[in-house]
Symmetry: C2
Subunit: 208 residues, 2 copies
């Protein structure tokens, strides 16, 4: 098994935190995304979506999409407390929150950043006004996350889950949009500080 | 258990097809989305994302997000052949394709439609040029789906799965964008015809 990744991208980071939380080690191979290594025919033959992270299995087949990779790793390395939830209702709530964080948070933040910064303008058309609109939608989404975290210690309820990893990556990412979690979002702010202190996340944070 | 839905929306349709494929009946309650019924405080207190479909459980709690609802229904009504896959690798491939269809297809199509048509301009800012760009991205995505369907009878491999339901709803939806699956996409076209003939889908198609 081998993981193709480039540590600084948010999607690669989700998988890295997931692996660290579960204490699993997988050999890593770096891919130069900004240099366009993922645009080569060789890479595209491996990764259906043309993106990282990409997991090479021992039978020579490949899995892409960060959450699919995490789900597979969870199943072949089961923990007493699954990061996808332990009962049908827990699993449904993790999936619900995971999707809310992704569809109303993370993906909207990516669109804001890509369209405002033009970081990938060599390979996609950017629409600056959509970037501005998306940035505003990220700001408008934060209070509902704060509200949820006023009701439970973790995003999907009483237990830490992959939804917390996605939310942590999301909140870390929005500093690229000059969005800050201020005291007006006290539950979100407190949860984020707790997250930065988790041993798995500390282990991945570059030393100053 | 009670399902809040409005049959003509694509997300409600995904859950309806899923239920019909599994042969499960759940009482339905209509919600007037275009009239803004989902914007009321009462509805928002039930649905975390303020959207349908929304599943009311017997203990009075609620689940939103169509895929979370389907996953829950699959788990409490297990079939010999799960629509989420039967082995860790099958489940990972279903999730991978499900995400590709959603993130590169369905969600992009929704953004194209909402920004071009202004259907919800009473409640969101529309950016027409992003609608145009998204429509083009939908067109650019179709060949990779055609290629996958040249290799396997169903989207995620040898078995019918929730990824086929998502892809069917996506391909049905893009007629709203004046995008047609032509003979230049023969595998996608053939798969779509097979899908329209499935008993579950026939049972949900209005009689002419």
């Amino acid at each position: 098994m081998k993981l193709y990744e480039l540590a600084p991208t948010p999607s690669a980071r989700r998988v890295s935190i997931f692996l660290a939380e579960k204490g699993i080690e997988v050999p890593r191979v770096n891919v130069d995304i900004r240099g366009g290594e993922n645009l080569s025919a060789e890479f595209k033959a491996k990764s259906v979506n043309g993106r990282i992270p990409l997991l090479e299995l021992d039978d020579g087949s490949y899995l892409c999409e960060s959450v699919a990779i995490c789900r597979y790793l969870e199943e072949i390395h089961p923990s007493v407390h699954s990061l996808f939830g332990n009962t049908p209702l827990e699993r449904a709530k993790v999936e619900m929150w995971q999707r809310i964080i992704e569809l109303q948070g993370l993906m909207v933040g990516f669109q804001a950043f890509r369209n405002l910064s033009g970081v990938y303008k060599d390979r996609e058309n950017c629409v600056e006004s959509w970037g501005t609109e998306s940035r505003q939608r990220v700001i408008d989404f934060l209070p509902s996350l704060d509200q949820q975290l006023s009701k439970s210690p973790f995003v999907a309820g009483d237990e830490f889950s992959i939804a917390d990893i996605s939310a942590y990556v999301f909140i870390s990412f929005i500093k690229n949009l000059d969005i800050e979690v201020t005291d007006s979002l006290p539950h979100l702010k407190a949860w984020f500080i707790t997250m930065t202190q988790r041993p798995a996340i500390v282990s991945l944070t570059p030393k100053k």
